[in-house]
């Protein structure tokens, strides 16, 4: 092939302008993301097929159970273990995304000086940043969505009519919107940190830690911050027989229950038991006037999902705005 023909051959493809440049420059990272999705999908299919092909036979064996599947009690146990691991692993996606945007995408250009090439073309520095943000946001969504789908596929055999574990860290986020919001926030944090730090490795470290700390911190306080639903009743009859006075439903998330005294003070659920060793008998000197149960019904799942998604998207917009402000100060 002649040199001139080779020069012309590269003009194929559908991407144009700064989008072509950004995708071409970060092609290895995009391929890595795709490989990650394909690998996760392959493992998920393998585990699901295995779990179906080798059903549990000796789950209640006594003594030394022979290993039946790759060192696990059964293919189904391996599938469940992997699904639990996968939920936690998904929470590290924002770390990955924030680090990649901050380091290879932004800070490396500032560190190596190629920004002086990019910013003196016809497309402005603002367009340069906007394109990087857009490509990163699309790629992050395209990475997170299939992984979330794979997670749901993994745990499908374990979720019956009752939505088990929807409040758990990892499981809650892995329904989609929340994790995508955290990933988009990681993109914006990555851009801001990359422009601020201007050195590849420190930018990756800082952006990764900040991006990861967001879902970690919110996950710790999520259910405490969102208003609970409370049921109350007169008297001290919080417990009737083996259970609580009111069945809040198996897919609700019990936060707290207990007694209210005449002075309005809340006592824990075991305040009577500690004195009488009987859940249903309360000493008169506690002055209990009523009982309460604070809980999150399953309907709160969507409210918290929407609220958290909206807050994280607002934070992402704020971080992106700050990044553009910073860029305008460093570029002319």
């Amino acid at each position: 092939m002649s040199a001139s023909a080779t020069l012309r051959r590269t003009s194929g493809g559908r991407l144009r302008g700064p989008y072509w440049t950004t995708v071409r420059l970060h092609r290895p990272i995009l391929w890595t993301g795709l490989a990650l999705v394909i690998a996760a999908a392959a493992v998920a299919v393998f585990l699901r097929v295995s779990a179906a092909a080798f059903p549990e036979k000796q789950w209640n064996c006594i003594g030394a159970c022979p290993d039946t599947f790759l060192g696990f009690a059964s293919a189904s146990v391996l599938l469940e273990t992997f699904a639990d691991f996968f939920a936690v692993a998904l929470l590290f996606l924002p770390l990955l995304i924030g680090a990649v945007v901050a380091g290879p995408m932004i800070a490396r250009e500032l560190e190596s000086g190629t920004y002086r090439l990019a910013w003196t073309q016809s497309a402005s520095p603002a367009r340069w940043l906007a394109t990087k943000l857009a490509v990163a946001a699309i790629a992050a969504t395209a990475l997170v969505l299939p992984l979330v789908g794979i997670f749901q596929f993994l745990r499908a055999p374990f979720t019956g009519p009752v939505n088990r574990g929807w409040v758990q860290r990892g499981v809650f986020e892995a329904y989609g919107p929340v994790l995508i919001a955290y990933s988009l926030l990681a993109v914006a944090i990555g851009a801001l940190v990359g422009l601020l730090v201007r050195r590849t490795l420190p930018a990756m470290a800082i952006a990764g830690v900040v991006s990861l700390s967001m879902p970690m911190a919110v996950g710790t306080v999520r259910w405490d911050v969102f208003p609970v639903r409370t049921v109350t009743g007169e008297g001290s009859g919080l417990f009737v027989g083996a259970g609580r006075a009111v069945d809040i439903g198996r897919d609700s998330f019990l936060m707290q229950s207990g007694y209210v005294t005449a002075s309005g003070e809340r006592l824990p659920y075991n305040a009577c038991w500690r004195r009488t060793r009987d859940m249903e008998t309360c000493p008169a000197d506690l002055n209990i006037t009523s009982w309460y149960i604070d809980f999150h019904p399953h309907s709160h799942f969507w409210w918290v999902t929407f609220a958290e998604t909206a807050i994280m998207l607002a934070l992402a917009a704020a971080a992106a705005w700050a990044a553009f402000r910073l860029l305008r100060r460093s570029a002319v």
Binding site: T6, L7, G113, R116, L117, W119, T120
Partner: protein
């Protein structure tokens, strides 16, 4: 349109923030570069040449003063300028062909693919070679192809020829000047090697310690100086003139002066070479600055709106 390619008015740039004392890379830098000039920016290392070019390229915000490029703020003229930084920044993971594709994609409507390809193929570069595998000179060639392919009205080149062998330097300079002449491009080239660019340029800016020490058309600058040789006390004979430098030579005394009138009889006068003038000014940092009328900021035109309509 404007007949001014670059105009700087009291341009100053300080790095490292106001807390650090000193640190001025440029200070009180004023000049005008007429359009269609081929301008050499010369001066010792650290004089402020790169800082000056980066301001014109819109990559630095002045600490004080203004710089106007093609009649507008540098950020508004990105399409019409091309800039090659001293270290020739290119993306190492791209091939030569992909780098030129980048020029096309980022400069739609301006890109001259055949010109860029010609510059690359003239250097026997493999279009499939990765930038990271190229030598310094080959990188320079690709960077220049990227800059010229944009068909800029103003071409800013920071130490463009430093990595090139003499043959490639001669050939690329020829291409560059031919294109500039054909398109009416203003070219600004910096160099710390005095005289390297002199034969190619018609305009000169000598930068020293962040200021413009000499500025003007080279012919005018040469005409403004005289090399005088003679015997006798220097002060009496040359009193009316501005003496840039004087040295004892075998035949007596040789001095570079800016004559303020006829030179006293008994002194041989000769036209200095550009190199004589540059060396004399570099050896005499206290010599007064000289801006010829064509290089002087025109009153009122430092204002940006006036420059746009002008």
């Amino acid at each position: 349109m404007t007949d001014t390619a670059i105009e700087a008015a009291a341009l100053g740039k300080r790095f490292g923030g106001p807390s650090r004392s000193g640190g001025w890379a440029l200070r009180d830098c004023s000049f005008r570069l007429p359009a269609a000039s081929i301008c050499a920016v010369v001066g010792p290392n650290g004089a402020g040449k790169s800082t000056l070019l980066a301001h014109a390229a819109g990559l630095l915000e002045p600490t004080e003063g203004t710089v106007t490029v093609l009649g507008a703020h540098p950020s508004a003229t990105r399409e019409r300028i091309a800039y090659v930084a001293q270290d020739k920044p290119l993306y190492p993971q791209l091939t030569v062909a992909e780098t030129l594709r980048l020029g096309l994609e980022l400069n739609p409507g301006r890109w001259d693919a055949s010109l860029a390809e010609r510059i690359v193929t003239d250097g026997d570069l493999d279009p499939r070679a990765r930038i990271r595998a190229l030598s310094g000179g080959q990188r320079t060639r690709v960077a220049l192809a990227l800059a010229l392919g944009k068909r800029p009205e103003l071409l800013l080149l920071d130490e463009p020829m430093a990595d090139l062998d003499p043959l490639a330097r001669h050939q690329l300079m020829g291409t560059l000047l031919a294109e500039a002449a054909e398109q009416g491009t203003t070219v600004v080239m910096s160099s710390h090697i005095l005289g390297e660019l002199a034969h190619a340029c018609d305009f000169l800016l000598l930068v020293g310690e962040g200021r413009i020490r000499l500025g003007g058309a080279i012919d005018d600058l040469v005409a403004a100086h005289r090399l005088v040789t003679g015997r006798g006390p220097l002060t009496d004979a040359l009193a009316p003139h501005t003496v840039i430098e004087s040295r004892a030579t075998g035949r007596g005394l040789t001095a570079l002066i800016r004559p303020a009138g006829p030179v006293a009889p008994g002194w041989e006068t000769a036209e200095p070479s550009l190199e004589d003038i540059l060396l004399a000014h570099l050896r005499s940092p206290d010599a007064p600055a000289l801006l010829t009328p064509s290089a002087s900021v025109r009153s009122g035109s430092s204002d940006m709106s006036a420059a746009v309509t002008g």
